[in-house]
């Protein structure tokens, strides 16, 4: 059993990482451990439990800024924001289902470190766009701060961006400062039924290009839609395209009307109001529309939206969902199959990446979880890792760098 170390203060964290450097120990960094299993497997001599670094440090709703401990539970944070009619605009995903487990929203630090982004990402930006600053201890065993607590800031290098999405391989963050935004008053969704893949992808791109501020654009194939908890999505036995409109009630009505006028009239349409709308986008965000079977395989593909139809045609998944107007595709296979990975990886060769999220161990161990990087970029990634964690103490191997 791996020993778990739980520092109680930033100084103790510093001591732990310095000690690991001196003793050739390695640390598997975790908050609540809900995302262990995302990325490459980590073999470390010790578990570094960050859960002590929890709690709100400073929240000024009128400044749209919040500083908090990195291990603050996502649920606590989202409740606090909801009480103040605010939100995290990047809509962090609950990775539980995608990783084949129960729902588990984890910590804000975990969400930041894996760059966990929901359906609003194509419009509102990613986790990194909402991280204004942080305090951390690098793999060198040195404490540092980066960024600040104002949005408009170009003072020095933007290490917040580097740390967001670094899977805890460069530094262990103790405190984060986030940009928060007003939550929408209303959330409606326009549903368009029965479109084939190509016209659906084209319509999503067209809707993204309207001035109507569509904040979610997802497409679910017919047999996948049958797995939805929302009856409007589940019961028609047709493919469903969802277009989310959020904001002030008066504006939502106006924009929904404008979108309907864009359609030719040939399509069958419907609307999701508040509760159903929220439920549908949570399913999209957390991949609950896809099955969760023993021995199945889940890929996450990020590519230019115009490539979506071709990627799906090449990959022939058993189930799939397109999000971000086609920029994000979740591919699900009921079982692993020789050659599948090759096809998926090749489908994004013209631009984009495919990440293996869930698979039987033999497949996971046989191929890189992340899309292999071109040589020049791979070299730079390795040099960045060596600069922040020269002895490979933090989450060794997790990003495959």
């Amino acid at each position: 059993m791996t020993e778990t170390l739980q520092p109680q203060t930033p100084d103790q964290l510093l001591e732990v990482i310095a000690w690991a450097n001196a003793e050739n120990a390695t640390l598997n960094v975790r908050g609540f451990g809900t995302k262990l299993g995302l990325g490459e497997a980590v073999e470390a001599s010790h578990m570094l439990d960050m859960s002590t670094f929890s709690g709100i440090v400073n929240y000024e709703p009128e400044e749209l800024v919040l500083t908090l401990g990195s291990a603050t539970p996502m649920a606590e944070l989202e409740n606090l924001l909801a009480e103040n009619r605010q939100m995290l605009a990047f809509e962090p995903q609950d990775w539980g289902w995608a990783l084949g487990r129960e729902s588990a929203s984890g910590t804000i630090g975990g969400a930041m470190m894996v760059s966990s982004n929901g359906p609003r990402r194509f419009k509102a930006g990613a986790a990194r766009d909402h991280l204004l600053g942080l305090k951390a201890v690098s793999g060198r065993g040195e404490a540092f701060a980066a960024g600040g607590r104002v949005v408009k800031n170009v003072t020095g290098y933007d290490l917040s961006k580097l740390m967001a999405g670094s899977y805890g391989t460069l530094a262990a963050a103790t405190e984060l400062t986030l940009k928060v935004l007003p939550a929408p008053e209303k959330t409606y969704t326009l549903l368009v039924y029965g479109l084939d893949v190509e016209p659906a992808m084209a319509l999503m791109r067209a809707l993204a290009n309207t001035p109507y501020d569509v904040s979610g654009l997802a497409y679910v194939a017919a047999h996948t839609a049958s797995l939805s908890s929302v009856s409007y999505v589940r019961d028609r036995q047709m493919s469903v395209l969802g277009a989310r409109i959020e904001g002030l009630q008066i504006s939502v009505h106006h924009r929904l009307q404008a979108l309907k006028e864009m359609l030719t009239g040939a399509q069958e349409i419907d609307e999701l109001r508040t509760h159903n709308s929220v439920a549908f986008w949570q399913e999209v965000r957390d991949i609950k529309l896809l099955p969760n079977l023993a021995g199945d395989v889940l890929w996450r593909v990020s590519a230019p939206p115009s490539a979506a139809a071709s990627i799906v045609a090449q990959c022939q998944p058993d189930h799939w969902v397109a999000d971000w107007a086609g920029g994000l595709i979740w591919l699900h296979y009921d079982r692993a199959d020789a050659g599948q990975a090759e096809v998926v990886r090749t489908s994004v060769q013209a631009g984009g990446q495919a990440m293996l999220v869930r698979a039987p161990d033999d497949l996971r161990n046989a191929i890189p979880v992340f899309q292999p990087l071109p040589q020049g970029l791979a070299t730079l990634n390795r040099r960045v890792k060596e600069n922040y964690d020269p002895n490979g103490v933090l989450n060794p191997g997790r990003m495959g760098v």
């Binding site: 103790q12 760059s115 766009d129 670094s166 309207t210 020049g376 040099r383």
Partner: protein, 494 residues
């Protein structure tokens, strides 16, 4: 100020350098005579000037690559430059360095509406990107006030902002990819038309890296559909504090306008004399711009009007036409040249503060200016707390420029002291380099420099900018490892 010590051994290599550059570049891409170098002696931060050994104006990525590889081989420093509109001295040449200008990289490579992006060479101006897609109903959101001249490559290097950052973000939130040539001459692409970073988010640190990591040769930016409606309110107040309180009230209501700009009395009077925008007779003017669907904008105009009344606005006008909206903005856009009429020179600062600290900072700033017997005009992006105090001085009066610089530094220290930052959108460059320790500890700065060490370990690219002390990477903060100590006896472990 000393930017960085001149290396006389390098100066002695000038003839070798020039003859080698002649082999790489067409003759019209290489400038080396004193009169040709003069136009490049500074960017828009003109307090300090320096001509480089040579100016290189390449036309292709291959020429950029060959130039950098040559300089790397000869151990010669390189300073990249876009249009030279930067306000922090980021493109100030080095006497023993080569200046590489990207002005000839001025083509738009690809307009891709399907993927809502434009691929442009770095010398394309910010405005030219919006111009290229405007007829089809799109635009590029970040709009620095120099947008007619500044280049997209420079925007990426500086992470430029503009008046619409509050709603649409800075450059970093709108860049999807870059092609960059490293100091070794190697060409690397970061990002592209997809949204997720490949490996570490290096694009995120390249944006705003001020030319210390590589030379950008292509940029992919996100474009947006133009909003259905744009309207503005022009509000007068009895003080900047009242105007600032109104800004806070708007945001507290959950409204994120496209822009919120405040000008103080001195600025208002200056712009009235300069271009007569018809501003109200007030101590402060606040412009609030709202964009989006017509129904939403009309509704929000009413809400903001009510908030302005509650917050003691002395006058409220609402734009009823595009002409009127542009008139509201005319004074704001002309603020810098208008203020320049008041005194021969002005020095533009760029700190950002938490919005709530505005009254405190304004009051303290006017005290500090009075102590120095200088005038400060205030123009600011109030929505995101980004201040642009314009310190008025006359460089021909002995000692006045030094006094203006001192006051500028004091103002920036004040911004940091109240929880803000040294620069919101202009960059650190040479100008604020030595103030960095006000905001960051030595360890913080060393961790920033780690990025530099990954990209340019020899430190040939744009040294003397951003970092007050540029350590040699090999010596940078050697790790102190103490073996054999008893590890943390008090630590919970299980």
């Amino acid at each position: 100020m000393t930017i960085i010590d001149v290396d006389h051994d390098i100066l002695a290599k000038r003839d070798v350098l020039i003859s080698r550059l002649e082999q790489i570049l067409p003759s019209d891409c290489l400038l080396c005579h004193e009169d040709q170098l003069r136009p490049y002696e500074a960017d828009a931060q003109t307090m300090h000037k320096q001509t480089p050994m040579a100016v290189v104006l390449p036309e292709t990525t291959e020429q950029v690559s060959a130039t950098l590889a040559l300089c790397n081989e000869l151990g010669i420093k390189v300073v990249p430059r876009g249009a030279g509109t930067g306000l922090s001295g980021g493109a100030l040449p080095l006497a023993d360095g080569v200046l590489i200008g990207l002005a000839k990289f001025n083509n738009i490579v690809d307009i891709d509406y399907d993927n809502r992006c434009v691929v442009a060479q770095p010398g394309v101006t910010n405005l030219a990107i919006s111009d290229a897609v405007r007829d089809d109903g799109y635009y590029y959101a970040p709009d620095p006030s120099s947008q007619i001249a500044c280049t997209i490559g420079g925007n990426v290097a500086e992470n430029s902002g503009g008046v619409h950052c509050l709603k649409y973000g800075l450059t970093t939130n709108n860049v999807l990819g870059v092609e960059m040539v490293l100091m070794t001459g190697e060409v690397v692409r970061f990002g592209g038309k997809h949204l997720d970073a490949d490996g570490y988010d290096l694009l995120g640190v390249i944006t705003g890296s001020e030319g210390l990591l590589g030379v950008i040769t292509e940029v992919t930016v996100r474009i947006l559909p133009e909003p259905e409606t744009v309207r503005a309110l022009l509000l007068g107040f009895n003080s900047c504090e009242d105007a600032g309180a109104c800004v806070g009230a708007v945001i507290a209501e959950g409204i994120i306008p496209a822009g919120m700009e405040i000008m103080d009395r001195l600025t208002i009077d200056a712009v009235e004399d300069y271009c007569h925008p018809g501003y109200p007779d007030a101590e402060a003017v606040l412009i609030v711009e709202l964009d989006g669907p017509a129904a939403e904008v009309d509704y929000l105009i009413e809400r903001v009007t009510a908030l302005a009344e509650e917050n003691s606005a002395t006058s409220i006008s609402t734009s009823q036409s595009e002409e009127e909206r542009l008139r509201f903005w005319q004074g704001r856009k002309a603020a810098f040249p208008a203020v320049a009429q008041l005194r021969p020179d002005y020095y533009c600062m760029d700190g950002t503060i938490p919005r709530g600290k505005l009254p405190e900072v304004l009051a303290r700033m006017s005290e500090m200016a009075a102590e120095k017997d200088l005038l400060v005009a205030n123009v600011f992006h109030a929505g995101d707390g980004n201040l642009h105090p314009l310190i008025l001085y006359d460089a021909n009066v002995p000692g006045e420029m030094a006094k203006a610089e001192e006051l500028g530094a004091e103002i920036l220290k004040l911004c940091v002291a109240v929880g803000g930052v040294l620069t919101g959108e202009h960059g650190v460059g040479t100008e604020k380099r030595d103030l960095m320790p006000e905001m960051f500890s030595e360890a913080d700065l060393e961790h920033q420099q780690r990025v530099k060490c990954a990209f340019d370990p020899e430190g040939y690219l744009n040294p003397g900018k951003v970092f007050p002390t540029l350590h040699r990477c090999a010596e940078l903060g050697r790790m102190h490892i103490h073996r054999g100590q008893v590890p943390f006896p008090d630590l919970p472990r299980f």
